[in-house]
Amino acid sequence: MTINSFLQIALYVAALLALAKPLGWYMARVYEDEPAGLNRLLAPVETAIYRLSGVNPKQEMRWTDYAIALLIFNLLGALAVFALQRLQAGLPFNPQSLPGVSPDSAFNTAVSFATNTNWQGYGGETTMSYLTQMLGLTVQNFVSAAAGMATLVALIRGFARRKVDIIGNFWVDLTRSTLYILMPLSLILALVLAGQGVVQTFSPYQTVPLVESVTYEQPKLGSDSQALKDINGNPIMEQVEVKEQLVAVGPAASQVAIKQLGTNGGGFFNVNSAHPLENPTPLSNFLEMLSILLIPGALCYTFGMMVGDTRQGWAILAAMTLVFVALIFVAVPAEQSGNPALAALSVDQSASLTQSGGNMEGKETRFGITNSALWAVATTAASNGSVNSMHDSFTPIGGMAPMWLMQLGEVIYGGVGSGLYGMIMFAIVAVFVSGLMIGRTPEYLGKKIEAYEMKMAAIAILIPPLAVLGGTALAVMVDAGRTSVFNPDAHGFSEVLYAFSSAGNNNGSAFGGLSANTPFYNAMLGLAMLFSRYWLAVPVLAIAGSLAAKKIVPTGPGTLPTHTPLFVVLLIGTVLLVGALTFIPALALGPVVEHLQMMGAR
């Protein structure tokens, strides 16, 4: 690794941590209904929204009502996205006259965006009209993120309150998250990105002349638009000369901003943030990458403020950051070391002043190794899933780091809201385990952790591995699963494992070689996304309701402090232990075997 590589990583982590407190403070003020700076502008809008929709913002909900409201709202969102995709051919803002999307792909995408996963079985510029991108996908980018944040805030209230049966109003938390947090941040980011060269226009795709024309062969079609065949049954080929370049454009900046900030990750274009018109410069890359972890990191501080002890938030942020930094230093050196098979062909893969070197297959020149590998780690630490390089072409170890980060349950920062509530589930398990060791009733933030909370936390922690490993096992056993695999041998298994790790933890990134736009994968991955989103959110809300009803236990000599380095280590240990024990056998069959093959082939 070069000195510049260290500097870019250090700047990134420093910026992330520096912004945690101001943004975290702002979000806590918003959720506690205190003036936070934008009230004069937005409070009238907020009041009007409640009046129109008949919501009484002062009337709070029990956890069951909160959960039902969340589920109904997400169901509506999924239905709307499904309908828009199916009907887009007849709707406006479709300058390329793209046809309606197939039912299985439309189901998968609707679920994917409603669950904040943003797995994409389709290619954006060849599938979705501008209207679908804006009114379907961008809307879900906002509200699925806001729903995750609302669920987290409800859980935090469960800790902060005593002897009550209400945990907040879902409609209020949803509206505030969208209006005060996600929209202002997205507006600023979208404009900066547009200034850097991300396109934002309603014009149709543009045509420019090519400096050199290119030719390619394609099967010749008859008048019935079927391929013509010669007497031997081979298709007749014809030469096509291309003299012009058709360039896809569209309202990208507005969608890119929220897909990064809301840990959504669904790209406007097929190759996501590797596309030069979605991520044109190193600065746009830095800002997009920072936006991935910005809100999940800052929510830790919000959590500390709302439970009345900011040290609790810092401890969790520290645990997340330590795992994150460690995995950066797995992925970046792995990618920088390059591909031994190319070294044998006298290709120069060394880093120097004039090139980044390393494993450049699937990576963009302007990002090089450092920013590609750093992005891969950030996007999978958070459940973002946007990419600026093709993870399928990573070295085995470089590709294992993002895969394992997803398998840890998306709790290293994780999704907006969902990452922290997932991490709090691990914290509950951590205090329970240590409570057993010292022979005391486990407590977290003054609340006794009892059998009910443990059962719910166990469900939340065990559902994603079930979806990942069960789904992978099924897919590699049936033909419909195996025929979609692109790369041979162990890497092919990694493609399937990565797909289910991504869907089963609501990440959305992919080893893109896998042809996932098939009825089998659209259905299987759609189900995995549904399970892992709602089988977590509902138990989390159940815990919130149960905790809110409890009294606060005063700290005594037997209380385990949960803001100390000792607890940080304990929390990391719990996360890693569950993640490692569950997934090492599967990882051994994929990336580990491939790594040994790659090194042995020299």
Binding site: N4, Q8, S53, G54, I68, A69, I72, L76, A80, G123, E125, F142, L174, T175, T178, L191, A194, G197, V198, Q200, T201, Y205, Q206, V208, P209, V211, V214, T215, A248, V249, P251, A253, Q255, V271, A274, H275, P276, L283, F286, A341, L342, V347, L353, T354, Q355, S356, G357, M360, G362, E364, T365, R366, M390, S393, P396, S494, G512, G513, E594, M598
Partner: protein
């Protein structure tokens, strides 16, 4: 449960209008106003006002007199900017090694005398298939070939390469890079 449907439906409609209509329209309006050039794709025009290309979208080039960009995995032809794509070839996939061998052969055939090791970005497909840049090392590797094919002095070509090289943004972010399209347009303008 029924009581939640009314707020759910109305709120969903309001938030859809807010985030799916007003927000993108506002961003489009402001971006077109403040950053007209960038928001429309950073199009380049020649002295007569004719459009010559997207500054940020690479083009397929294979003649000896032009600098070549990154290999592109888009289909059905390279640098198809209507359908961006990477190769998704894994590091141990024999198809990757075969593709690299073909690219090395093409480079050697166009420049038989060049014995320098080939910079990796010149023989590996970019992530988007549309990468407008190559590394300065990859440009350096091609200078003599281009100069010979165009009967120009290598120093003259090198100065054009330098003029089309961008350093790290703020001397820190990203990687140094050469814009292949602007470089080739500059070459064609000279000769």
């Amino acid at each position: 449960m029924i009581k939640h449907f009314k707020p759910a439906i109305i709120l969903f409609i309001i938030l859809s209008v807010l985030t799916g209509v007003i927000y993108p329209a506002l961003v489009t309006g402001l971006a077109q106003l403040l950053f007209f050039h960038q928001a429309n794709g950073s199009l380049m025009t020649d002295s007569s006002g004719k459009t010559t290309g997207f500054r940020l979208i690479g083009q397929p080039l294979s003649s000896p007199g032009h600098f070549w960009g990154r290999p592109s995995a888009t289909g059905p032809f390279p640098y198809n900017a209507g359908a961006s794509s990477g190769s998704n070839l894994g590091p141990t996939n024999p198809a990757l090694i075969d593709a690299v061998k073909v690219r090395i052969q093409a480079l050697k055939a166009a420049d038989p005398g060049n014995k320098a090791p080939i910079p990796v970005d010149l023989i590996t497909a970019s992530g988007s298939g549309l990468d407008p840049h190559i590394s300065p090392a990859a440009a350096d590797y091609q200078i003599n070939r281009v100069a010979k094919a165009r009967h120009m002095k290598p120093e003259k070509v090198r100065s054009l390469v330098d003029a089309n090289t961008e350093s790290r943004q703020w001397w820190l972010l990203g990687e140094p890079r050469v814009n292949v399209l602007t470089l080739n347009l500059a070459l064609d303008a000279v000769h």
